[in-house]
């Protein structure tokens, strides 16, 4: 199964870059030819182009939730953002909207998309470092993704 692992974020905005750190970490640990690891700072519509042509996508990003515990890792499917995707946004197009647009236009989008989201603390200070709890979550998320990949091999 042709798989894209895509880390999202801003590498110089503290915890915002955690998705990129996880992807970097995975790059060194994966040798399967059918798995591609990429990192990007783009969002919304621009993600569509990157997803085309893969059977499966694993996306890694930062998230902030009400009462969330910093460093928690969530495994999400795109459907969980149904509740937000209908909202118009003052800037940009949400992820779920972009995916739905792509599928309506008949783009060859992955059949399976999962999102690993890490609860973060600071996304507004310029720094190349994540905060400590988020840094500790990086290996946890890496292992979850490796298990996810293994699971699919066995299936």
């Amino acid at each position: 199964m042709k798989t894209l692992i895509l880390g999202l974020g801003n590498p110089i905005l503290s915890d915002d870059g955690v998705g990129l750190r996880v992807a970097e970490e995975l790059k060194g640990r994966l040798a399967q030819p059918e798995v591609t690891v990429e990192e990007t700072s783009m969002a919304g519509l621009s993600l569509l182009d990157m997803l085309v042509g893969y059977d499966r996508a694993i996306i890694i990003d930062a998230i902030q939730t009400v009462g969330g515990q910093v460093g928690q890792v969530y495994l999400l499917t795109p459907e969980v953002f149904d509740a937000t995707r209908h909202a118009t946004s003052p800037h940009g197009v949400g992820f779920a909207t972009a995916i739905e647009l792509g599928s309506r236009l008949g783009l060859a989008l992955p059949q399976q998309i999962v999102i690993f989201a890490i609860e973060v603390a600071d996304v507004s200070t310029f720094s190349e470092e994540c905060t400590p709890e988020v840094r500790r979550a990086i290996p946890v998320c890496v292992n979850m993704i490796l298990q996810e990949l293994d699971g699919s091999h066995n299936a």
């Binding site: 890792v73 909202a87 940009g92 507004s124």
Partner: protein
């Protein structure tokens, strides 16, 4: 596996907020927009080699990396006192036209069109790019995606990287354009010109043909008299990449025309205790509060401002579109905030025409794309028109070229006073005697600042990939009477969670 409840967003820090204060009669007394601030950029830059700045600043925001790259590389030219060869300037401009096209297409089709195609108070479940395509046809959606991808390909080829360009160096560019690439770009540029014409036609059919929308555009609640600022070339035509900064007053009369180096003589910044964002204003006019008119130093940037300060467009089809816009809206300058959308489409056509001209320029494949700087670095200012408005980068370095001081004024900051005023005006026009506020009304208040295409960088990556916005209305006792937000999801979601213990 355990179930948790996710309510994406609501922390003050991660989102924009509009606060509306009512008086005893239930009318709008004040309205404020708050945008979260990114902290510590200057400190982050200190001590870094100045030639790294064009690569670092593209990371400030995932929305306009191309604009930061260009303003930054122009500032490094100035720091090193080097004038790039003509072909390098043309290649940068070619790249930059593609950047403008990419950004303007997204703004119009994904953000502006839903309000007009579906209607300002239509069901929010329909009022998005999916609703637009359902109404105008799937093939239009295909054209939008295709032409955005063309603009992206051109940026990626010249920029050297898919998303964050690395092509600009002090004194020029890192590589030349090949003949094969040029031919490919030329074909894409021709198609983009057609798409630019098509988009203006669509605006005609969907917006201008509807009297209600035209009334909304020229109506009082979305009108604001202010100064305008933008880059112009030697003939006072709109230019995105280079030129001098021109300022016109609310009557359209030029009151300043200056070189990037002199910006601090013309622009000062006011601070308010309730806002992270500073409020730039025209020094010579002075800060008179959040006020309209000639006496107030508040000015605006972005598409309509660029057209208002210029004497016209440098390409023929865009010039026609420019004339038509001013004829329709009653002459220059236009103060209608919603006309920023129309001006953006005039610019889309200009950017495509200019792109094509540059692709057909004899010099464009010249391999001598860089002059190696030899002077001792010290200080420099670089300016471009970002899609959202005038963007200044200003660096000071020691003699080794390490940054000692960095300053930027971004487009959204120039417009911060104006956005607050536009929101207040819209709220005053829409909320009377404590009338119940609906989702549709919230959207009509939002339209007042969506026209400025504000960039709130920090929220563009964090899931769910949308800038959350909260609107809070207070009565005259300071009690909350309404709280509206687009993100109100709090149902349990079946997801797997791992904690770091």
């Amino acid at each position: 596996m355990k179930k948790v409840t996710i309510d994406p967003i609501t922390r003050l820090e991660g989102h924009g907020k509009i606060e509306i204060f009512l008086n005893d009669e239930g009318d709008v007394e004040d309205a404020y927009l708050q945008i979260p601030e990114l902290r510590g950029f200057e400190k982050f830059c200190e001590g870094r080699p100045v030639e790294e700045m064009p690569r670092i600043t593209t990371r400030i925001c995932g929305v306009c990396p191309g604009a930061h790259h260009m303003a930054s590389v122009k500032a490094t030219d100035a720091v090193y006192h080097v004038d790039p060869p003509s072909v390098a300037k043309k290649l940068r401009e070619l790249f930059y036209c593609a950047h403008m096209i990419h950004s303007h297409i997204a703004h119009f089709y994904a953000l502006a069109a839903p309000d007009f195609v579906l209607g300002p108070t239509s069901d929010p479940a329909q009022r998005n790019i999916l609703g637009v395509i359902a109404k105008v046809g799937l093939e239009v959606g295909g054209e939008v995606i295709k032409h955005r991808a063309y603009a992206q390909d051109i940026q990626a080829t010249i920029g050297g990287k898919a998303t964050h360009p690395v092509c600009g160096l002090p004194g020029g560019m890192s590589k030349a354009l090949t003949e094969e690439e040029r031919r490919d770009f030329e074909e894409k540029a021709k198609s983009l010109v057609e798409f630019g014409k098509f988009s203006l036609k669509l605006f005609d059919d969907l917006v201008l043909a509807n009297k209600e929308y035209v009334n909304l555009i020229v109506g009082d609640i979305y009108t604001m008299k202010s100064y305008y600022m933008g880059l112009v070339d030697a003939q006072n035509k709109v230019n995105f990449y280079d030129g001098e900064i021109r300022v016109v007053d609310p009557d359209g009369k030029e009151i300043a025309r200056f070189k990037p180096d002199d910006y601090l003589e013309y622009i000062a910044e006011h601070t308010e205790p309730w806002s992270y964002l500073k409020f730039p204003f025209l020094k010579k006019v002075g800060w008179k509060g959040l006020a309209e008119g000639k006496e107030s130093g508040v000015y605006r940037v972005n598409s309509l401002a660029r057209l208002n300060v210029a004497d016209g467009m440098a390409t023929p089809l865009a010039q026609e579109a420019y004339e038509r816009m001013y004829q329709t809206l009653g002459g220059k300058p236009v103060h209608a905030t919603l006309a920023f959308h129309w001006a953006r489409l005039v610019e889309l056509l200009y950017a495509a025409e200019r792109l094509l001209e540059l692709c057909q320029d004899d010099e464009i494949t010249d391999p001598n794309v860089r002059i190696i700087p030899t002077a001792t670095p010290d200080e420099g200012v670089g300016v471009v028109e970002a899609p959202r408005g005038t963007l200044f980068h200003h660096y000071q370095t020691d003699e080794k070229g390490l940054i000692t001081k960095a300053n930027m004024i971004v487009a959204t900051a120039h417009n911060s006073a104006a956005m607050n005023m536009s929101i207040k005006k819209a709220a005053q026009g829409l909320i009377h005697k404590g009338k119940v506020v609906t989702e549709g009304l919230l959207n009509m208040v939002e339209m007042a600042f969506r026209a400025y295409d504000p960039c709130m960088a920090c929220a563009t990556h964090t899931l769910p990939g949308q800038m959350p916005l909260e609107l809070v209305i207070y009565d005259s006792n300071g009690e909350v009477v309404e709280r509206l937000t687009h993100h109100t999801h709090s149902e349990p979601l079946g997801i797997k969670v791992a904690s770091v213990s």
